[in-house]
């Protein structure tokens, strides 16, 4: 399969008729790591949820293409099968369903009938991945996210990403609420997938995780738009100067 290309073109999105995204343009290709930064309430999570097809968000204009295919026409599960993955900011708890059962069901859903993963192959891969992420093996038999700490939930999202091997991963505040050791583990997980067939769109408030992941492109999002893009140094600059700096710069541009 050729390297993935995710194109977001002039994307406008509303919740309950209130505009949230006001023309987002962004392209993520295989092999690239993109970071989207910005203050609270500027639409970063809305962008992530819209890309995955959350029913609450209405796209009012623009398009999203994955390898030239219209993503907005696909149901959420079809997007996942096409290779999109969203690590959620607030993962749901699924009572009564073990993490192992969930992952196996998800892998088989992507593989389709007649190509199901064998129990042994699955178990081996799960054990190996959990070891890699320094996770307690008991985790696999706990109900999905039920009673998990914030850090465990984030780690579980990364575990799912490694097991499902997506082509484009959208990581929505995967670093929030994590201590420095946990951030290192999460970064290690993301790095391990790095290849020309894998692209990342990472949404974060903080520069901290970026020092481990070294994004190729950093985008600043304010008021529903990407207002500034640059290389890794833009993130460092933001950390020092704060978002107000970009906001002021924007205001000064107004003719």
């Amino acid at each position: 399969m050729p390297a993935p290309v995710l194109e977001i073109k002039d994307l406008h999105v509303s919740i309950d008729d209130k505009p949230i995204l006001k023309g987002v343009n962004l392209t993520v290709k295989g092999g690239e790591f993109h970071a989207v930064m910005g203050p609270n309430g500027t639409g970063k999570t809305s962008l992530a949820q819209t890309l995955m097809g959350h029913p609450r968000y209405q796209v009012t204009r623009g398009e999203v293409l994955l390898d030239g295919q219209d993503v907005l026409k696909m149901k959420t599960d079809i997007r996942a099968k096409a290779g999109l993955f969203l690590a959620m900011q607030y993962p749901s708890e699924i009572s009564g369903v073990t993490t192992a059962n969930f992952l196996r069901t998800a892998i088989n859903a992507r593989r389709g009938e007649g190509n199901q993963i064998s129990l042994k192959e699955f178990r081996d891969k799960l054990d190996e991945t959990m070891r890699f992420l320094d996770m307690d093996p008991k985790f696999a038999n706990r109900y999905v996210n039920e009673g998990f700490s914030g850090g465990e939930k984030k780690r579980n999202e990364i575990l799912q990403m490694l097991m499902l091997e997506p082509r484009i991963a959208i990581l929505d505040e995967i670093d929030s609420g994590l201590d420095i050791d946990a951030i290192k583990v999460v970064a290690k997980g993301v790095q391990s997938l790095r290849s020309p067939d894998f692209g990342v769109l990472l949404i974060t408030h903080y520069q901290r995780i970026l020092s481990y992941l070294k994004p190729d492109v950093v985008h600043i999002m304010i008021d529903g738009r990407v207002v500034k893009s640059g290389d890794f140094h833009l993130a460092e600059e933001m950390e020092v100067k704060g978002y107000e700096w970009v906001r002021n710069e924007l205001l000064n541009q107004v003719p």
Binding site: M52, G53, H54, P55, K75, T76, D77, R79, A80, K81, F85, L86, M88, P91, S92, E93, I94, S95, G96, V97, N101, F102, T105, A106, A109, R110, Y143, Q160, L164
Partner: protein, 429 residues
Amino acid sequence: MNMSTDVNWLENVRSLTLDRQEEPQWLRNWRLSFLDNLSDYAWPKRQKTPLRERQLDQIPLTEEFRDTSVPLADLHSIESPLHVVFANDRVVEQGVSPEAQERGLVILSLRQAATQYELDLKEWLGQIVSAPLNKAEALNAGLWDHGLFIKVPDGVDIQDPLLVLHYGHFDNEVTSLFPRTLIIAGINSRITVIERYISNDFEGKSLFSNVVEIMAKEGAQVHYGSVQNLSNHTEVFVTRSAVVNKDAHVDWNIGEFGGNVTIARDHTRLAEAGAQSAHTMVFFGSGHQRQDFDTEIIHGAPYSTSRITAKGVMKDKGRSAFHGITNIEHGAVRSDGRQKEQTLMLSDQSRADAVPSLLINDNDVYAAHSASAGPIDQLALFYLMARGLSEEEATRLYVHGFLAPVVDAIPGLILRNSVWESVERKLRA
């Protein structure tokens, strides 16, 4: 209803029983005691499930049973050295291992037992169901056909589960069925009975009224399981009752899946000190099904313990009401009664009510209840679908997760699998 048809109907019902020439006189008189006063009995009244519009009295009663055979696939699902198969309320196959026979386990039709175990029947038949009876129960008393009688002698521990299959083949002649089971567990005896109710999918109206009575004597342990998968055109009435004596246990594991309307009355009396009962119910309604459950456990003696656990799923336009009643009588000191009900609605048009109540007439007791009803979590569905599960697969996994803590705790693989299979069928329905 017009009075003359009512009279005709009653006359007809009565003559059905008078035809039972082969039965002992005492039993015919017992049956007639219900039928002669049928107009005194009313159909059950349930606040959330009114029956007035259903014209239950207009459903014709089966006048003549013709032989019918059980579909082979269903017959082969019965795998136990101990089994009984009913087709249209008549025993068509029975297996009792020589070992169980040697140890004195009695498995007979109630009709045979009426002659051979007359004293037991006179003592217990109809005595365990609490008054007042409703019309479905009175009709059952008057019209049960073969019935099932199980007696476990004192001190006998039967390891193999007794599997009972009730197959109903409704057609224009067979429009009503009245299965009846009486279990007498002797002192310190032990038995597991699993009954499964299935039927063909006859489009016409049909009436089904089932009565189960369990007498657990001192120290006896009875595990009773039942899975109901009748046609969605059948009006289903179920009454299950137990009397639990000193230090005895009666554990119920019930799965209710079929029927058009299903009205169940579950009633367990902890009659002597140390008696215990755990009542677990799993139900799943779809289409236009209405399910209404009254489950009551009465603590009539000290140191008695009860648990009521219910998990229900409603989809399409299905509606359910579950009333759990923990009734601790005065003097039942140090009793412990708890209940927990949870229901899940898969559609906007479905509805599930869970109403727990505690009636407590003594101070020195422990009682607790919790109930919750809610729609399926749309965010959770989104989460599952974001991992590549279709909406159908995501719903299935979610429902499995919802039911698993209760279903996986059901003792016995046969019963557990039967409940899971029924759940699967409802999910696909």
